[in-house]
């Protein structure tokens, strides 16, 4: 044994070789190449920055982000936070980011639901359902998104004028100015209820997790829904009641040119949302179909042999396994949807690109404007990627 330990062939670490200053040495070669490439990249970046600075200076073009604090003076049709033309450029850009998020988040949720339904429908044994889904996917995927957006926008513009607005339900008006809905006369009580609902969501999640852990220990089934009902509905109602139980509702009414009061969904937002949702759903459907087909036939048969109903087989056996195949390409689709929302410019929805474009044109500071757009998309996209990667690692097959 002592002999074998001394034998260098049995050592775990390879013997240290001396560095020879020669091109024949692999490590020296590697180091030289890496230094050269890093040096070249740094040099090019430095040259670009210097050249830009020099050119801007020579042409006396203003630089820096000082303009963010200046008054914007831009009209913005839709804003989630308080905004007037007297607000600063920073505020205008924030409104743009929120508008982008508003369409991206809701679009992702709707596209996922619609895409999953169509993907499953395409595998259905019902001939008509399967064919309709197939046609949907093929048509939607093959037409450029920009055309689809213009198509939806043109259709919505074809709706009647406000005075002849469609009025399907009392208080709901559909015209070429968008969809007007009655909305709560927002008061503090509503804010409290909303806050309580968010707290209720967390409580439900936490409760479900604890109950599931207990069930794993003793095998006793514990229904979650009674407590969830209390958390999700009871808590907000109590908060609303404690907040003074406000009941005011703002009804839209035709005054002058347009409806006043209530809540509006503008044609621009609606066209963009429909366009992005239906387009991305076409791709998601195919991803879902591929994911389901990737689960081997044996899994279906085994589950059916246990006497499970087809719906249960799909939900409890097949989809969880399919998710492992579905999630990574789904991340790309979510990123695509978010970035495609920049086509909003074409139909006049004021997202971050639209507002940053106007800003850079008003201030003449193109480099700063483009940098802001890139930063915003990079942040949103990286957040989506991080979340999806976390989710992916959670559902990944645990191998023992």
């Amino acid at each position: 044994m002592s002999q074998s330990a001394a034998d260098p062939r049995h050592l775990r670490t390879p013997p240290k070789r001396q560095l020879r200053l020669s091109w024949a040495d692999e490590r020296i070669r590697a180091i030289v190449w890496q230094v050269l490439i890093v040096g070249a990249v740094v040099g090019i970046v430095w040259w670009l920055v210097r050249n830009t600075q020099h050119n801007l200076e020579v042409r006396r073009i203003a630089t820096g982000f000082g303009f963010l604090q200046r008054e914007a003076g831009l009209p913005i049709g839709e804003h989630l936070i308080e905004y007037t033309p007297a607000s600063t450029y920073l505020r205008a850009l924030t409104v743009g980011v929120l508008n982008t998020l508003k369409v991206a988040v809701i679009g992702i949720v709707l596209a996922t639901v619609l895409g999953t339904v169509i993907g499953i429908a395409r595998l259905s044994k019902n001939w008509l359902l399967a064919k309709v889904s197939a046609v949907y996917v093929e048509v939607i995927r093959d037409v450029p998104l920009l055309l689809q957006l213009l198509f939806w926008y043109t259709i919505l513009q074809g709706l009647p004028a406000p005075r002849q607005a469609l009025n399907p339900v009392a208080g709901v008006f559909l015209s070429n100015r968008g969809l007007r809905l009655p909305f709560l006369d927002w008061e503090a009580g509503h804010s409290w209820a909303l806050l309580a609902f968010v707290a209720g969501c967390f409580a439900t999640w936490f409760y479900a997790r604890t109950m599931r852990r207990r069930r794993m220990q003793d095998g006793q089934p514990r229904p979650i829904w009674p407590a969830a009902l209390g958390f999700l509905i009871g808590l907000p109602v109590v908060a609303w009641w404690l907040g003074g139980a406000p009941t005011g509702v703002e009804w839209p009414a035709l005054r002058g040119f347009n409806f006043q009061g209530g809540m509006t969904i503008s044609p621009e937002y609606f066209a963009l949302l429909i366009g992005l949702t239906t387009y991305t759903a076409g791709f998601i459907a195919e991803i879902v179909r591929a994911g389901i087909l990737a689960v081997s036939q044996g899994q279906w048969e085994a589950a059916q042999a246990l006497g499970l109903r087809p719906g249960t087989v799909l939900r409890q056996v097949v989809l969880p396994q399919a998710l492992r195949v579905i999630v990574p390409p789904m991340t790309s689709q979510y990123l695509n949807l978010t970035k495609n929302s920049s086509l909003a410019v074409a139909i006049g929805y004021q997202d971050i690109v639209s507002i940053a474009n106007t800003t850079l044109n008003q201030t003449g500071q193109a480099i700063e404007g483009i940098a802001i757009i890139m930063l915003v998309y990079l942040t949103i996209s990286l957040s989506i990627s991080l979340f999806m990667n976390w989710y992916n690692s959670r559902i990944a097959l645990v191998e023992r």
Partner: protein
């Protein structure tokens, strides 16, 4: 109408940023600093003038059925080319959107911008550009459907208004609305065709832009009588060609070409009679202007008979106006010569 590649503005902006970064055009990049090698010399060496114009605005810049650019702004490009090369066709036209125009000029993609651009202090200073004069005095107005019965802009309370982004128009609109306590909902679309079709489809109650632009849009509607331009003018919009800051010689040439066009109208020199006037007219100012005397062209860096070349190509200011703007219903108004009441077009002396 010539179709523009989709999202041209965005690409143009990014391209321009990239160009600024890379300094793709080293001659242009160094010219303003050195002050010697001028834009004018670069144009002469290249053999063509690169002129930024509108993507398509009736009367100002629009390609005709043969794809030849025509319009009021286009005539200014042709005039400069005629002054430099004695050939008004040595121009390459680059259509620019409201948003891509300044970066196109800053980056050296175009030599001059003749595109209904309003002269403002911040554009003159922080953009690194120079305005060379006012070839069209304009003001912002509103157009509504005649059927709405609106008579003045103040009645637009609560209206939805279509407006193009990235222009002084949208800032004037918000200024005016704040000053007059008018609340409105904006619809902001970048491409003019989309914006006008949104207005025509009834998405907006009113469309606002410079009155000249309204007249151009109105004339290109299927039934112009269905649209009314309101009498209110809510801003001053002095429009004129502009160049990069730092090359005074080229800016001088633009400035004096405009003055030459106006002075020619004042002196009665037209496209038809310019050759005969150059030969026979004995008035000293005409002789100086048409290059018989004084060597004025040389001082600008162009041939002495440059004004003759310009007028042969385009005619005088009044002729250009009559050819392109009067057919679409724009009257001379403030753009008449200073010698007529209310007119503001005034040329500095050729001496």
């Amino acid at each position: 109408m010539k179709k523009q590649p989709l999202r041209l503005a965005m690409l143009g902006t990014i391209g321009a940023v990239a160009m600024t970064a890379l300094g793709v055009l080293p001659a242009a990049a160094q010219a303003p600093a050195a002050g010697g090698a001028s834009i004018l010399d670069a144009i002469k060496a290249r053999g063509t003038l690169v002129c930024g114009v509108n993507t398509g605005l009736a009367g100002f810049a629009q390609p005709d059925s043969q794809g030849v650019w025509r319009g009021f702004d286009v005539e200014y490009c042709r005039a400069i080319a005629a002054a430099i090369f004695n050939d008004a066709n040595k121009v390459r036209y680059v259509p620019t959107t409201a948003q891509s125009r300044f970066t196109a000029l800053q980056s050296g993609e175009i030599d001059l911008l003749a595109r209904n651009t309003t002269w403002t202090l911040s554009r003159d200073t922080s953009l690194g550009l120079d305005f060379t004069g006012v070839n069209f005095y304009d003001g912002q107005g509103f157009m509504v459907k005649t059927s709405t019965g609106v008579k003045t802009a103040k009645e637009l309370e609560g209206a939805t208004i279509c407006v193009q982004p990235g222009t002084t128009t949208e800032q004037n609109l918000t200024d005016w609305a704040r000053a007059n306590n008018v609340r409105f909902t904006p619809v902001v679309i970048e491409r003019l065709e989309e914006l006008v079709s949104a207005y025509a489809a009834g998405r907006c109650d009113a469309y606002t832009t410079d009155v000249s632009g309204l007249a151009a849009t109105r004339s290109s509607q299927p039934t112009p009588a269905e649209h009314t331009i309101l009498p209110d003018v809510i801003s001053k919009e002095p429009l004129g060609p502009l160049v990069r800051h730092g090359d005074q010689r080229f800016a001088d040439l633009l400035r004096w070409t405009h003055f030459a066009l106006v002075a020619a109208e004042e002196l009665g020199i037209t496209q038809a009679n310019v050759a005969q006037m150059a030969a026979n007219d004995a008035r000293p100012e005409v002789q100086r202007m048409l290059g018989k005397n004084g060597g004025l062209g040389q001082m600008l860096g162009v041939p002495n008979e440059w004004v003759v070349n310009v007028l042969r190509a385009t005619g005088n200011y009044g002729e250009i106006f009559a050819r392109h703007l009067q057919p679409i219903g724009i009257q001379r108004g403030p753009n008449a010569l200073w010698t007529t009441p209310g007119g503001q077009q005034y040329a500095m002396p050729f001496r």
